[in-house]
């Protein structure tokens, strides 16, 4: 049990404490991925690291964009962009739940004074061909973390399994600071969350709900998709071991992420019909699964070395 601490007073102190906590447990502390993603799961540090046999432990803060959740900065709890603290433990330690609960104590939440429930909530990301089994962790009725045992990524069975902990940082900070609005949260002792982020919430809501050029977005989606497809096709034709080693699969994955974000923008703009929705999700998933498979082939060139097989 971590030693008893006062509640983290600011958002950044919360981030420091969580980073330190997971640093002490052997995690690589990564920096946010510099591309628009809907969740920390999409980052290569999760999506690609979860594949294959090599153990890994990583924690990072990831700004996550969910265009559809934008509320022009008017809703005290809902954000176009929010911060997730993402922790990947591969393979999961047997006491992973206890470690997680200790991390809450490290933030300054004295669990003896609160109630915690692990309520069933399985996670699925259809555009990434990824799913897992787990819970939403409820602290006094507030959902603070998504706790998932990944089972598949890019359509591939995972072995070993990874645990993913996704902390909702704004929610936790508001809870620790007893703030009713996320915008009132202290980012640090002198600056509020609203001062830093309100304009961004407003302007991005305006842009994506009212202004974004739908034709341009579709065109971009087509371009990125075509480029990703071109790379995957080239990979399949590439036999020379050395050429395969240096083949740009990571950039191919970034193209997939671009597609995924553009799709979210179009969706928020109301430009995607129900059937188009299913089709585009299917197309992006195909790319994501293609990259996942290629990535395993590249990292573990002999077939025996790659234990995961296509599902």
């Amino acid at each position: 049990m971590a030693k008893q601490r006062q509640p983290a007073r600011t958002l950044q102190e919360l981030i420091f404490r969580l980073s330190q906590f997971w640093d002490e447990r052997g995690c690589v502390i990564q920096q946010p991925y510099d591309l628009e993603v809907g969740a920390g799961t999409s980052c290569p540090e999760t999506f690609l690291r979860a594949l294959g046999p090599v153990p890994y432990k990583v924690a990072y803060v990831q700004p996550s964009r969910r265009p559809d959740d934008g509320r022009y900065g008017e809703n005290p709890n809902r954000l176009y962009k929010h911060l997730q603290m993402q922790v990947i433990l591969k393979p999961p330690p047997a006491d992973v739940q206890d470690q997680y609960l200790d991390s809450l104590e490290a933030m300054g939440i004295r669990l003896r004074d609160h109630e915690i429930k692990f309520e069933e909530d399985n996670w699925e990301n259809p555009t990434l061909g990824a799913w897992g089994i787990g819970w939403q962790v409820m602290l006094d009725g507030l959902e603070i973390t998504q706790f998932t045992y990944f089972q598949q990524c890019g359509g591939l069975d995972l072995d070993p399994i990874s645990v993913e902990l996704t902390y909702g940082l704004e929610r936790l900070a508001a809870f620790l600071q007893d703030a009713d609005s996320v915008y009132a949260v202290r980012w640090n002792e002198s600056t509020s969350y609203g001062q830093i982020r309100l304009a961004e919430e407003l302007q991005f809501s305006v842009y994506q709900f009212e202004v974004a050029d739908i034709t341009m977005l579709w065109k971009q989606l087509d371009l990125y998709e075509a480029e990703a497809q071109r790379l995957l096709l080239a990979w399949r034709g590439c036999q020379d071991p050395d050429a395969r080693r240096r083949f740009p699969l990571l950039p191919a994955y970034e193209l997939v992420l671009k597609c995924s974000h553009l799709f979210n923008l179009l969706d928020a703009r109301g430009a995607v019909s129900v059937t188009e929705r299913a089709t585009v999700i299917g197309r992006v998933r195909q790319l994501a699964c293609g990259v996942a498979e290629a990535w395993l082939q590249q990292q573990y060139p002999s077939p025996e070395a790659a234990p995961a097989s296509p599902a």
């Binding site: 709890n77 429930k117 309520e119 507030l142 089972q151 809870f175 009713d180």
Partner: protein, 726 residues
């Protein structure tokens, strides 16, 4: 053989939180696997003290007060060669016996002689000593545990590891106070249990079941679900007693969830600002129940009170922090809802119609704008058909129903429905009322997704029933027409459920609408829409006949599975007419009532015989029914049957006309003596073609005239022993 003395068996599977709703059936499964496993190992079921099952989200527990300490000893008789060749004249074993004994691994003296139907044989009585139960449990326990069925299981130790609902973290397996050394994945069985996460201690040694229960209780785990349930109820009641007239809204489903979501449940009474009560109760309750798993609280007048009951997974809220937290979350949720309720109200349902153009109903069938246009048209047609069927619908009422159909889907564009999808329809109804639309319109919109299941309520008003029918029939005709009819067990669009609702509304609201009319009118609406260039891929051929059959199929399902009528009665009634659902139900009810009476089944058998005779006559010499010549009937059983027929026919028609189907059936059943006598004395297939055809004609007439309620030939005679009625 004396039964070995039994010993206590205790199994606790320590597991990370199992989804509440899966626990009861998993316990049932585990109990069965353990019991069947032991029986398969040769234990007599009565030698096992029945397993008592317990569970919390973190543990599945099986306890038996006594399992025999050893598997029963078994004897097996293995026959060898015949005695006459195996034993020589002097009674000594000969070569075949020696060889057989060798094979059995025993000296030949141990062979015995057995007498069989084929003669005497030498044999060996093999006695298998039962293995110690402790040894058997080592294999049985992991097998049974991993054999539990889960709707969606997972790996946690990699693909070579165990597959279970959530990771198993400890195993307590005690038999006669000793640990059974077994393992599941990397977890070795031990003699320890774990207390409550926050309130109890970890790794507590257990001696036996009594100490186990006490240890858990000391460490804040209430093992018995029933006790947790009672605790939730009693503590909730005492909290509510503090304020005059408050009581919790009954919600057995939610109570069950909390029972299996907690190890040490303690209710907490929270409050919210009464100003939120200005929001519709449906919205508040959905937020509390659906999102937060709170019990809603009502006052003495049955109105929603600004209170809620949360169930904590801990013993108390000493510092008030938990209550503060729950109230804070609920406030945020209510604020969201209020924001939506206010902003949604700024645009009328009528103005939202335009927005529906961008909401796809189905790619090949257009948007919800298109759908509501068709529903409006279909509602109008259905009202016309109801009027034709004798139903009264005033012009004003008709106009409101048609308008309700048009506005029924506008709420799909509201933020409230996007947030709380389960409130679709309800939100539309509430917004309609707030806009000041007539109550009939509001109610029809509010109810039009009903019924959602076989147990669900039906739409309260005729308007709701018609809008619900128009909605469902438009979906069904549309989807069938573009090749989306369900196949096999796959029904992603929920068309079976949609059709089931149609049947229930027709059957239980007794609407004068036939299935044929519903199918014809809904297809007609699509045909008209096509002329305007909509739904170009829709095909009437794909929709009409298959949809009609689909609905009859659902009707059959409803009558058998939901109403519980016998299959042959359902067949008989539907063979006589399957178009008017309410009428089919009435006929079936009467048939089931007359079925057990003495004349009925023999008469049904006679009808079957008539059918067969006619069939044969048609096939063997091309008999075709001609005019009946009463003057050719010969006095005696033949003429008597004809006269009886005339009398019964009139009586049955009169009864039917006055709506008394049972009386009509009773009249028909009274034909039995005349029919029996006829078959007894008269040879139908007379050599004289004139007489023969006239007799066949009589049978054909009987069949035709008396098969309008049910085709009695479909009735399968029951064995006298199974006299239960459907």
């Amino acid at each position: 053989m004396a039964e070995p003395k039994g010993k206590e068996f205790l199994l606790e599977i320590g597991v990370e939180e199992v989804p509440a709703w899966m626990i009861p059936s998993a316990l049932e499964g585990l109990k069965q696997l353990l019991t069947e496993g032991l029986v398969k190992l040769g234990f007599a079921p009565e030698s096992l003290a029945p397993f008592q099952m317990y569970a919390t989200p973190r543990r599945l527990v099986a306890f038996s007060a006594s399992l025999p300490s050893r598997q029963p000893t078994t004897e097996e008789l293995i026959e060898g060669p015949p005695r006459r060749i195996a034993i020589d004249a002097s009674g000594k074993p000969a070569m075949p016996a020696i060889k057989f004994a060798e094979k059995m691994g025993i000296p030949p003296e141990k062979l015995i002689t057995v007498a069989t139907a084929k003669g005497e044989y030498v044999a060996f009585k093999k006695i298998r000593q039962g293995r110690p139960t402790a040894e058997l449990l080592k294999e049985l326990v992991p097998q049974a545990v991993l054999g539990i069925y889960w709707p969606r299981a997972m790996y946690w130790e990699g693909k070579g590891g165990p597959h279970f609902i959530r990771p198993i973290r400890w195993l307590l397996v005690l038999y006669g106070g000793k640990t059974i050394p077994c393992a599941i994945g990397s977890v070795q069985a031990g003699k320890w249990t774990w207390g409550h996460r926050q309130l109890g201690k970890a790794k507590l040694a257990v001696k036996d079941f009594a100490s186990y229960r006490q240890t858990l209780r000391d460490h804040f785990v209430i093992l018995e679900p029933a006790e947790r349930r009672v605790r939730i109820q009693e503590l909730s009641d005492s909290l509510l007693r503090a304020e005059e007239g408050l009581r919790s809204k009954q919600d057995p489903g939610l109570l069950e969830t909390h029972t299996y979501l907690t190890e040490y449940p303690t209710p907490l009474l929270g409050s919210f600002d009464p100003s939120y009560l200005a929001l519709p109760e449906e919205v508040l309750t959905t937020v509390m129940r659906g999102h937060q798993k709170y019990f809603a609280v009502e006052d003495a007048q049955g109105r929603l009170a600004p209170r809620f009951l949360a169930i904590m997974e801990t013993d108390a809220d000493r510092k008030g922090l938990i209550r503060h937290g729950h109230e804070r979350v609920l406030r945020a949720r209510f604020n969201d809802a209020r924001f939506f309720w206010e902003s949604d109200g700024r645009t009328t349902l009528a103005d939202r119609l335009e927005w529906l153009r961008t909401v796809t109903f189905q790619a090949k069938l257009g948007s919800y704008f298109d759908k509501t246009a068709r529903m409006q048209e279909l509602a109008e047609q259905l009202i016309g058909a109801i009027r034709e069927g004798g139903g009264a619908v005033s012009p004003e009422e008709a106009a409101q129903i048609v308008r309700a159909a048009r506005l029924s889907k506008s709420d799909l564009t509201t933020d409230l429905v996007k947030e709380f999808t389960e409130l679709q329809g309800i939100i539309g109804g509430l917004l309609a009322r707030r806009e000041g639309l007539p109550e009939e319109i509001a109610t029809a919109i509010y109810d039009h997704y009903l019924p959602q299941s076989m147990e669900d309520a039906l739409p309260r008003s005729l308007g709701g029933q018609i809008v619900s029918l128009a909605d469902r029939m438009d979906t069904l005709a549309g989807c069938f027409g573009v090749g989306l009819a369900p196949t096999g067990s796959k029904d992603p669009l929920g068309l079976r459920r949609a059709a089931q609702g149609v049947i229930r509304i027709l059957a239980e609201n007794k609407l004068p609408l036939t299935l044929e009319t519903l199918v014809a009118k809904s297809c007609e609406v699509y045909t008209v829409a096509q002329r305007l260039g909509e739904a170009p891929e829709w095909s009437e051929a794909a929709a009409r006949t298959p949809l009609g059959e689909f609905l009859v199929d659902r009707l059959r399902y409803y009558l058998r599975e939901v109403r519980g009528f016998a299959y042959d009665e359902v067949n008989a009634v539907l063979a006589a007419g399957r178009n008017d659902v309410a009428d089919a139900v009435r006929r079936l009810e009467a048939l089931a009532q007359i079925r057990p009476t003495e004349n009925f089944e023999p008469l049904a058998a006679a009808f079957k015989r008539m059918k067969n005779i006619l069939q044969q006559a048609r096939e063997s010499y091309g008999y075709a029914e001609g005019e009946l010549h009463p003057e050719w009937f010969q006095p005696g059983p033949e003429l008597a049957l004809y006269e009886r027929y005339l009398a019964v026919y009139q009586e049955a028609e009169r009864a039917k006309q006055s709506g008394n189907i049972l009386a009509a059936l009773q009249a028909i059943a009274s034909l039995r003596p005349a029919v029996d006598l006829f078959f007894d004395k008269i040879l139908v297939m007379d050599k004289d073609a004139r007489l023969r055809n006239n007799r066949l004609g009589l049978l054909a007439t009987l069949l035709r005239q008396f098969s309008t309620i049910a085709d009695f030939a479909e009735i399968v005679p029951r064995e006298p022993t199974s006299a239960a009625t459907g």
